[in-house]
């Protein structure tokens, strides 16, 4: 691949992730500040953001944190929240044809929800390149570290994601991305099944089980409503 081509791809990825990067700012500030309140040192907070890089898991875990850290409980909670990554990675795997063998595990190591969703969306219309993915991941990763550290310094007073509707920004981004994955009536069944399962489980069970329940329900329904001949005319870049 030509270097100029790569830098254009990198920039396109960086631009695509920009709305999500802006939306994450108050969450980074809030998480950094809350982590300080829970007694974590700056070095510990940086280490967590840099090695875990999973906002929803970090938020839940920080709320549960006590000193000394209940590490087994924290590990189990993290697994529960992040188990959705297994489905996401399996889906993304088929779109990493442009990546080297070591490049694939490196790429999915940065698979935050927003990066994954943008990469899936890109694969609908073009071949997903490592440079584009690096643009997505690089911007969101550095952004996450910077705003968490800013939250450590600035404290809790400054950031309330709800006050400016930032808490809705990710919902809006994901609704916008969802429209790209429409495949006709089978998608309608998937959405109905996922919504119903997620709502019922969220209502009935404490904790983040609803994501896995909704994800599995949608996939199960897709398997059930599949008819031979559905594959015709679908040009997926593998």
């Amino acid at each position: 691949m030509m270097p100029t081509n790569s830098s254009a791809e990198f920039r396109a990825g960086a631009m695509a992730i920009l709305p999500a990067a802006v939306a994450v700012i108050p969450f980074g500030l809030l998480l950094g500040a809350r982590s300080v309140e829970k007694g974590l040192s700056t070095a510990e907070i940086f280490l967590m953001c840099a090695t875990v890089f999973a906002g929803s898991a970090q938020f839940v875990v920080i709320d549960l944190w006590s000193q000394p850290a209940p590490w087994a409980f924290i590990a189990l909670t993290t697994l529960l929240i992040n188990i959705r990554h297994v489905l996401m990675g399996a889906s993304l795997a088929g779109k990493l044809g442009g990546f080297s063998s070591p490049g694939k595990p490196v790429a999915v190591s940065f698979m935050a929800d927003e990066i994954w969703a943008m990469a899936e969306r890109r694969a609908l219309e073009a071949r997903l390149t490592p440079a584009y993915y690096a643009g997505l991941a690089g911007v969101l990763y550095v952004n996450w570290l910077v705003w968490n550290m800013a939250g450590v310094v600035l404290g809790t007073a400054i950031a309330d994601p709800e006050s400016l509707g930032f808490d809705f920004a990710f919902t809006a981004i994901f609704i916008g991305l969802l429209t790209g994955f429409w495949r006709g009536t089978q998608t309608a069944w998937v959405l109905v099944a996922s919504s119903a399962a997620a709502v019922v489980v969220k209502y009935a069970v404490e904790g983040p089980w609803y994501i896995m329940a909704g994800g599995h329900a949608g996939v199960m329904v897709a398997i059930l409503v599949w008819r031979s001949g559905d594959d015709a005319g679908k040009a997926h870049v593998a």
Binding site: A43, T51, H85, V86, A172, A198
Partner: protein
């Protein structure tokens, strides 16, 4: 640079578990049949996961959030993503003031 041993252990456990969930899909997908129902299952993942993540906000939070989600969807069907995000965030702020 002070790092408490129990905290360090917890963070490392979080990092390792998160990483394993992220890479395991690459390996597990080898056992999914190519084409047919296997392909249909994988193809449904983005819509299924995204819908599940947003379902509580869209359906269970309140009238402002549900209305804003509908507005976001209508805008997203016609305009670029960034316009849909602005429309969604703008409408949720206004609707919360009006209805909340």
């Amino acid at each position: 640079m002070n790092i408490d041993p129990a905290t360090f252990l917890a963070i490392v456990a979080m990092a390792v578990i998160t990483w394993l969930t992220r890479v395991s899909g690459l390996w597990l997908v080898r056992f999914v049949p190519k084409g047919g129902r296997g392909a249909a299952a994988l193809e449904a993942v983005p819509a299924a996961v995204l819908m599940s993540v947003i379902a509580p906000m869209v359906f269970m939070t309140g009238v402002p959030e549900s209305l804003a989600a509908a507005i976001t969807l209508l805008v997203a069907l016609r305009l670029p993503l960034i316009a849909a995000v602005f429309a969604g965030v703008g409408s949720v702020v206004m609707l919360r003031m009006l209805l909340g």
